[in-house]
Homo-oligomer: 138 residues x 2
DNA sequence: CAGCATCCTGCAGGATACTG
DNA sequence: CAGTATCCTGCAGGATGCTG
């Protein structure tokens, strides 16, 4: 499991040795990480992955606690980055549907490992927290 | 590639069908995701993965743009969640070293897929952005 | 229904100064 | 050096109201 990670680190080090951190690429990677690190992006992505295609309202209802402002904002960003396809149906009342692009599905697949890890290590984390809190109460 | 993701989705759906979303587990998963989604956590984790063990100051210098307040805060959270081991050496001047636990390394391994994906799809994202911006300028 | 525009607020997080 | 404590500010993001 950690083998892949070690290998990855070696790869990164090698790459950086060859092309000593191109600030341009660096910035772009940070941008992508920031996108992933956004509070809502991965949740929206997960919901869309589960349901395939959803209207704005239905999508919002599936993301508990999000305001419609943040939903719009997140969706726009994701569309801009090519993660989401926005389709407007010219009918009344308006109907706009969102679905993941291949790029979005790819990011979902990449993030999949994190979801699984999270599900698998919940107890370990809970224990660590309890231990820390107990130790902090001195 | 998307096979794993699809499989994962099936697994999730099945699990939710069996144990219809235990709110307790749900909350914990969200907590983990929130941790990952934190602006600094994954960067700090990456730096620690590369260097193995670092003092507070050295670590901070390796994370461009982080304030020492946020560094302390992030480190405390990570320690609490069992991702990081904090070792105090009782000398003057004080010396405190941080290194990843097995849990931290595991999370790094899980997140590895996302890093790789990000590196591999930079151009696609750049293109998508350019296209979006061009279309937005009407 | 989808989603802008506007206003308003809390608090995340920076800067600074102080201690063991 | 490795923090904690205090203060201060910007802006993320919620609530509300209006349109095509």
């Amino acid at each position: 499991m950690s083998f892949d990670f070690v290998k990855h680190l070696e790869t990164r080090r090698k790459l950086e040795a060859e092309a000593p951190l191109d600030p341009r690429v660096e910035a772009l990677v940070n941008g992508v990480i920031a996108r992933v690190a956004d509070k809502w992006t991965m949740i929206v992505l997960d919901v869309l992955a589960e349901h395939g295609e959803l209207r704005f309202g239905a999508l919002g209802r599936r993301v508990p606690g999000i305001s419609q402002k943040m939903l719009t904002q997140t969706l726009r960003e994701m569309e801009r980055e090519g993660l989401v396809q926005r389709t407007v149906h010219p009918v009344v009342p308006p109907k706009v549907e969102y679905r993941l692009t291949d790029l979005g599905l790819g990011l979902g697949a990449a993030f999949c490992g994190v979801w699984i890890w999270a599900e698998q290590h919940l107890e370990a984390i809970e224990q660590a927290r309890a231990a820390f809190d107990a130790r902090a109460a001195d």
